[in-house]
Symmetry: C3
Subunit: 304 residues, 3 copies
């Protein structure tokens, strides 16, 4: 879980993913010698801060978003949200402006819900703040801010070790309305003809999806994927013997929104471990669900 811990500690809120992009490019350069297949690496320029790894003859693409939720400093001591963080007075926030590193405390106004920070000085307008990472590991769980989606990235990177044919795409802005999957999806479809997708992201523990019961295959969230594709995935999962759970939600979204609404005919399915304490500094995931997530991705990328 060393890699996961490193990923969780890098600040990369929506729009400011570049530090994590750099880390991943460095990681890929170092690790790819030990991977079964060496990928083509696409990044920079027309890919902005995204990365596409192309292995062999791809039939399916995995999407994992780089960005996290957070806050932007507005005027005075006001904060505005990046994505949808849970807010609670006392959460520790970190960042950096031209005066140096920042370690401050979130304050939620009791009546208005207005967001501000407590700190010994004013922070510069436009500065990004993210949750301070307190990475905790037990025999059965990992806990940290930003398991959503550093665990989805971790899963994608571990998948790379044995992947023979497939695409792994690291996207931006997922937590804040999207903005990169539209062009990634177009590029991948136009260049490789690939239009099958798996969304490597983290979902919610609910009454129907419990920790430790296996990775969740989502039959729907706020959007509804094409039934025939989801059924194929379900049958492959059943045959594989990997533990999994079926999720059915009426809300929530992912990078799949941009696949669904783009001008290419993508089939997509969200496949990810469930977490509790979603969008707080204390997101927690059962290690068995991490194992089954990676195991199922290995099977799906072979058989789809």
């Amino acid at each position: 879980m060393q890699l996961l811990q490193s990923l969780c500690q890098i600040a990369a809120p929506s729009g400011h993913e570049a530090p994590l992009t750099e880390y991943l490019l460095h990681y890929v350069r170092q690790q790819q010698q030990q991977w079964r297949t060496r990928p083509t690496v696409l990044t920079g320029g027309e890919f902005q801060d995204c990365i596409i790894l192309v292995f062999g003859k791809p039939r399916t693409a995995v999407f994992a978003h780089l960005d996290s939720i957070g806050f932007t400093v507005r005027y005075g001591r006001q904060l505005v949200r990046i994505g949808g963080p849970v807010v609670k007075t006392g959460y520790q926030l970190v960042g950096e402006d031209s005066l140096g590193k920042i370690d401050c405390t979130l304050v939620v106004h009791e009546e208005t819900g207005a967001l501000s920070y407590e700190y010994h000085r004013e922070i510069e307008r436009g500065t990004d703040l993210t949750f301070r990472c307190d990475f905790r590991e037990t025999d059965s769980t990992v806990q940290s801010c930003y398991l959503d989606n550093r665990l989805g990235i971790w899963n994608a990177l571990r998948l790379c070790e044995t992947l023979e044919d497939g695409i792994v795409a690291f996207s931006c802005w997922e937590e804040h309305g999207g903005g990169s999957v539209a062009y990634l999806a177009k590029y991948i479809y136009d260049t490789y003809g690939v239009r099958q997708a798996l969304i490597s992201d983290i979902t919610w523990v609910t009454e129907g999806v419990q920790p430790g019961q296996g990775v969740a295959i989502s039959l729907r969230d706020s959007l509804i994927p094409r039934r025939s594709y989801v059924e194929r995935i379900r049958r492959i999962a059943e045959a594989s013997g990997v533990p999994f759970q079926l999720e059915v939600e009426g809300s929530g979204g992912s990078d799949a929104k941009e696949l669904q609404h783009g001008a290419q005919p993508w089939d997509w399915c969200f496949v990810g471990a469930p977490e509790d304490n979603v969008h707080t500094p204390d997101e927690v995931v059962d290690k068995r669900d991490i194992d089954s997530m990676l195991a199922l991705y290995r099977v799906l990328m072979r058989e789809l």
Copy 2:
């Protein structure tokens, strides 16, 4: 109205349109010998569950959505909506899971509004349910669930009988956020240069649009089409002698949303009969408005 009744009886909620796609492909294969022009039929593969029929040298495309509203079984006896169905305790719902055919009853919790079903057994997670079809016909009306949009499909199929130049596109996911018109529109524009659209769909009876007064030409709904295109349609309609009504709404949408927001410069106009009891099992349309809808489409596809 035999054809319309058959269309209304096929379950095809958003994401699960395939059974209706199969029915239409079979219908087209059988009927096209009697049509004035034999269309090119595009379906499957990169068109997912959509169908495009291309007649002659097209200048205008008709879009009719295949999917309907409905419900997905969540956990326990919970239901979540597909699109925006009206809900009322007692509505009969049908579906099928691995244990067999289902015929159950919708229950709306009086205080919370939570949706569930009454049935002698639990239904499998992720199962789609749709309204049970009770098709009713009088001298002056037809009544059923899913006239929205099986009547729009019926109109498009009847239009095919005499169509010489034009495109008829059957789309998916319209009731649940869209997801196919973006790529259909791109394909049609890139391949045929067509960028004029008519939306063959059903609208609402209101104080300004009354049953029996003719097909509605919508000047706007939640979106505003380009004025110059709508004015052309209005002038053709006036010259045709076909009864019609002008609609002006501030809400509501259709497949036109994806045309408006896509990366091709489509002109579009919603032209459809009004119905009462929208999104219930008892949608009702005046036969005179069905007649004028088809009559106006025949004129428009010739003259636009």
Copy 3:
């Protein structure tokens, strides 16, 4: 300010931009002899009512929206909104239907908030109404309806006088959900490889952005642009000596929404003067902010 006054007086609500398009095409034909560089003018046909001006070898595109907010006549004396106008009983509205020119008064129902008009006759269904223009100029300010975005257009036109390399694009439907920037952005990217954008539009006076303190560079609104691009703009602005203010908002949007969500990797930044009394007939802007807006655009288009 003669040009600005003329621009403010032309009715061009979303969907009905054509009269302003005509005016601009005429203006460009007349003025371009005196411009440093003669642009290629793209309009009509596949560009609908938009205009693209291409100067030299473009690296950056300026987007300015043509359309304004307003109202559509519904049934009886009801009105529905075009975009998000502020409403107040007594606002004067103008328009035209087949019976002639209209000059009527907005009425907001005290309890329901329902919108209607007072006039000596009923206005035809579907007629557009806009605020009556009362253009006021002092030594330090201009005041009128529709400074948003006729001032953004004015800025773009004045920029054209000295522009050597760049694109100026006039868009439609910005106030009402968008609908043209998706295809403009695709065309510009595919044809010229340009993917840097500046949004020439008007923002809000707030506690952090004050009149007279210079043009606003927006670090974010409801969307978050890529940090590295915004930082480049900020550094160029600092080096230029042109007065500017940094804006940070959690809401609001612009033509950038379509750039962010489209299938090309655009970098974008909103750069515009702040106004008070937003979306009323009394929008007011400080002349110093107009000056610094134009001055900064001249610098940015050279240096980006």
